[in-house]
């Protein structure tokens, strides 16, 4: 994976940049020593590492604004960073750029239950939002598995999901407003505590923009009343097809459970030996369904799901009878990634979405690819919304295995697109899937997306080299009117 070539002229001016940035963020706010910089050299996509020129840790919006304005003025690239848990390399630094880390923006600014929202700084972790309101019986719905570490700012940038987003939506469906600092230092407020956007829905655009359009410095999130009851069902199937068909039928019956997760045999065994969740080991697929709401409703749905399970030949059915048991059912699924880490030196998590009915075919073809690439794969997926997470098992110490794992991952994502799906359901494009964007989109489609960069960051200084396979030039005054064929940038820089 190639990143834009570093600019040696910028590298030489490191000392000057350091002094200027220290003047804006004094004290320990700028990191420049080699050893400390190493802590920022990658996010959770560990295969890619790059030490940044400097790391800046601002504490106020004014500082963020001044830092960006300064970088804008001197042409210095900026990579925003929350907690560094991105799985797509979104926070991968640049050699000739700074990392703007939002870790010190860690305060909950306001809990406003009359308006059912919470105002937080972007460095607050996902789980602490719920912690701030749980004693009042509320919670924040989007729940990425990384929720105790990942930041709300990162969630907004990635439009993160979680196991409950089938019923409750992704981040973008659960935020009401943001404060955003643009690359030139200007500050925008989008939304607030009111519901509908004023003018264009720029909030909708910012969410999921992977740090390419602006730096989020405040977020207003919607919180919901915690469900009265939650119960989980574990259904074992003799084949994955039946588990998939069962999921489709549950939805066709008009039920949207709080979560529906499928694990295949490899994942079940790894999870079971890791956390002893009590999973059946003699099944090919395990379907975990969670139902929440008033007890009468949950009871009704439990019956419905059990009956549907039977109809599709479930060979085992277990219902959680206590909160402890429900958590135990989940423990296996939630630990699926580290569990795979126990059975393989390294694993690579893929994240594509397919139309759900394509599930059997997708799994069949993934198994074939596994043969071709000679690497094992374990499958866990958010079955309700067709979001696959094949985990490719490999050993980075063996020559060429990482490359093979990546090629296998890319083949799976191409397959997702071929089956009518998309490259990423929740982890983002980042650097990881950047060069696959042309599989899903035409050049015209990508051009239209990239033009928006010109509205927010015409010089391309904010997180360049991510999401789009080519850099885009903004014409004079932000006008990028490309008449067909006239101005195709044949010499456009590819990474």
């Amino acid at each position: 994976m190639l990143m834009p070539a570093p600019d040696s002229a910028l590298l030489k001016r490191r000392g000057e940049f350091l002094n200027a940035l220290r003047a804006i963020v004094p004290g320990e706010g700028v990191i420049d020593d080699h050893a400390s910089l190493a802590a920022y050299e990658c996010d959770a996509l560990l295969a890619y590492r790059q030490r940044p020129m400097l790391v800046v840790l601002p504490e106020t919006v004014e500082q963020v604004s001044q830092v960006l304005a300064y970088c804008h003025q001197v042409g210095l690239k900026v990579v925003p960073r929350g907690s560094g848990t991105s799985l797509s390399g979104g926070a991968l630094p640049l050699e000739d750029g700074i990392v703007l880390a939002l870790g010190k923006f860690n305060r909950i600014l306001e809990v406003d239950l009359a308006n059912r929202c919470v105002v937080v700084q972007p460095g607050v972790t996902n789980a602490s939002v719920t912690d701030a309101v749980s004693d009042k019986g509320f919670y924040y719905a989007p729940d990425p598995s990384s929720q105790i570490i990942c930041s709300i700012g990162g969630n907004v940038a990635e439009n993160s999901g979680g196991v409950h987003c089938l019923k409750y939506g992704m981040t973008s469906n659960n935020i009401l407003g943001v404060e955003l600092v643009l690359m030139d230092g200007s500050i925008l407020r989008l939304g607030g505590k009111h519901l509908d956007p004023q003018a264009l829905d720029l909030l909708g655009l910012i969410c999921g923009s992977e740090g390419l359009l602006g730096v989020v410095t405040e977020v207003t999130v919607r919180v919901l009343r915690s469900p009265e009851t939650q119960r989980a069902l574990l259904l074992g199937f003799a084949d994955v097809e039946s588990a998939g068909a069962c999921v489709a039928d549950i939805i066709a019956k008009g039920l949207i459970p709080a979560a529906m997760e499928i694990m295949d045999k490899t994942a079940i065994h790894a999870a079971e030996s890791f956390v002893h969740a009590g999973y059946p080991l003699d099944v090919e697929a395990l379907l975990l369904v969670e139902l929440d709401g008033p007890p009468v409703e949950v009871d009704h749905f439990v019956d419905m799901v059990s009956a549907t399970g039977r109809k599709f030949g479930a060979v085992s059915t277990r219902l959680s009878n206590s909160e402890a048991e429900r958590k135990k059912f989940w423990a296996g699924r939630k630990a699926a990634f580290p569990a795979i880490g126990q059975i393989s030196p390294d694993y690579y998590c893929v994240d594509g979405t397919i139309p759900r009915r394509m599930l059997p075919r997708a799994l069949r073809e993934i198994a074939e690819l596994s043969e071709i690439f000679g690497l094992k794969v374990a499958n866990v997926f958010h079955a309700g919304d067709g979001n696959l997470h094949p985990l490719i098992l490999y050993n980075a110490d063996l020559q060429g295995e990482l490359e093979r794992a990546e090629a296998f991952g890319a083949a799976i994502l191409k397959l997702c697109v071929e089956l009518g799906g998309v490259l990423t359901g929740e982890h983002g494009v980042g650097v990881e899937k950047r060069d696959l964007m042309e599989v899903q989109f035409t050049q015209t489609d990508l051009d239209q997306q990239q033009r928006l960069k010109c509205a927010f960051d015409p010089d391309g200084l904010l997180n360049p080299g991510k999401v789009f396979p080519t850099l885009h030039r903004c014409a004079e005054q932000g006008r990028v009117h490309v008449h067909r064929g006239e101005m195709r940038f044949p010499d456009v820089e590819r990474f």
Binding site: D112, L113, A114, N115, R116, N159, C165, G169, M170, I187, G192, K193, H194, L195, D196, P197, Q198, A199, L200, D201, L205, C207, S209, R225, A248, A252, G254, L255, I256, G293, P294, V296, E297, H300, F301, T353, P355, R357, D385, G421, V422, G425, E426, H427, G428, V429, K433, M437, F441, T442, T444, D445, D447, Q448, R451, C454, A455, H481, H483, R484
Partner: protein, 413 residues
């Protein structure tokens, strides 16, 4: 009379746009025109009628996916979904009657491009939350797609959301992919009679904070609004009504109603409306049909829900108009008798004062003269106005589409 172009398929739309670009024409994009009087009057050379782009292209109930051409009637979409026990959860409202039109004339394209949600928007999300994918023609005449045909997708910038509610000022949409959801089999409305607006707001906040009943919508109609309801039980009451809609499976709706009855029996006289009456009631609330007979300027204010009662009351008192609120207070409808400038300045000033500048007021109905002198969409603070303009230029650099519909065109310098 301005010329009307009516392309019947996507490539004809594309040729129309290219013809317009070549000739330096601007286009007013219309579906069935049911919301044509919402927003600033458009000064365009040609009317581009896209109502000929009709039809359901794909409907997969089990995938929760609907792909549809923009000119398809919303009522056709609704009946198709209904026959599979599904619906558009954001409950697109029918504003036609506000302009004296027959109901149900709107297209799905119009519903999405105006971005408005009905009463369930409070808990289920807005139009933008259900827009998964879009195919459109930009102002350079290029056909592009964004988003996808699956319910979970974060690949690339979220243009489907950006296009929703843009009133045709970015591109001509030729295909929409929407997320559909199962419709709750049962619903009912719990009515508290005779509360004043502050009491209503307190009740609603308490319900959302402390109670387990699954309330999907909450509205308050003062007496002078309730008396115009087409639901006889509400119309004949002679009192204000505070309305809580419950939706779900039969048993959960019943349990919720029981809980509400137990809590509120003592403090107010209450009533329950069944599924059929609820349906009529929430449809008229969504479309603000209480104002259908009048012609006075009509506003919709989007504010933090807890501000709704106070702001509504002050608007009615100080400007001598009528209001009601939906979205638990987050959406205020206000009709002013002022036919000169629709009280635009005063309304926005009050909104800013009461909410601390958190919200906006949109002039939904007013005659053309008023809509050309006051901005129907709330003027934006400078940096935001600039950004809206810059974003627009990235889609439509020459200002071909719906010039001035949302804001007066500021040309790029």
């Amino acid at each position: 009379m301005r010329a009307v172009w009516k392309p019947e398929n996507v490539s004809a739309v594309q040729s129309s746009v290219n013809d317009a670009i070549r000739s330096g024409y601007s286009l007013e994009i219309v579906g069935n025109g049911s919301k044509r009087q919402l927003g600033r009057p458009v000064d365009a050379s040609i009317t581009l009628d896209v109502s000929g782009l009709k039809g359901i292209q794909l409907y997969e109930p089990e995938e929760l996916i609907l792909v549809v051409a923009p000119g398809t009637l919303l009522s056709d979409v609704n009946s198709l979904l209904e026959s599979h026990g599904q619906h558009l959860a954001f409950e697109p409202p029918d504003y036609g009657p506000l302009w004296g039109q027959a109901g149900d004339r709107g297209t799905i394209g119009g519903a999405i491009m105006s971005g408005r949600g009905g009463p369930r928007r409070l808990t289920a999300g807005a139009a933008r939350d259900f827009m998964l994918g879009v195919k459109a023609i930009n102002g350079s005449g290029e056909l592009f797609s964004a988003g996808g045909r699956v319910v979970k997708n974060v690949t690339g910038f979220d243009l489907p959301k950006l296009v929703t509610g843009s009133f045709g000022t970015l591109c001509v949409v030729v295909e929409l992919t929407l997320k559909v959801l199962p419709k709750a089999p049962e619903s009912a409305t719990f009515v508290l009679c005779g509360l004043d607006v502050d009491e209503a707001s307190t009740v609603i906040q308490d319900v959302f904070r402390d109670m387990t009943a699954q309330v999907s919508s909450a509205a308050f109609l003062p007496m002078d609004i309730a008396c115009h309801s087409s639901v006889a039980e509400i119309q004949s009451m002679g009192e204000s009504v505070t309305l809580l809609r419950l939706e779900g499976f039969g048993l959960s709706v019943m349990t919720g109603l029981d809980e509400l009855s137990k809590v509120f029996r003592q403090s107010a006289s209450t009533k329950i409306l069944d599924k059929e009456l609820s349906k009529v009631l929430w449809k008229e609330i969504g479309g603000a049909h209480y104002f259908a007979l009048g012609e006075s300027p009509l506003w919709f204010l989007s504010v933090p829900p807890a501000c709704g009662a106070h702001l509504g009351k002050r608007l009615a008192q100080e400007l001598n108009g009528r209001f009601f609120f939906d979205w638990a207070g987050g959406g205020i409808w206000f009709e002013t008798p002022n036919n000169m400038d629709a009280d635009a300045f005063r309304i926005r000033q009050l909104l800013a004062e009461v909410t601390g500048n958190d919200g906006h007021a949109t002039l939904i109905r007013a005659d053309e003269r008023i809509r050309s002198v006051v901005s129907p969409f709330q003027p934006l603070p400078q940096p935001l106005a600039l950004m809206n303009q810059r974003v627009r230029l990235q889609f439509d650099p020459d200002g071909v589409f719906n010039p001035g519909r949302m804001y007066e065109n500021i040309h790029a310098d």
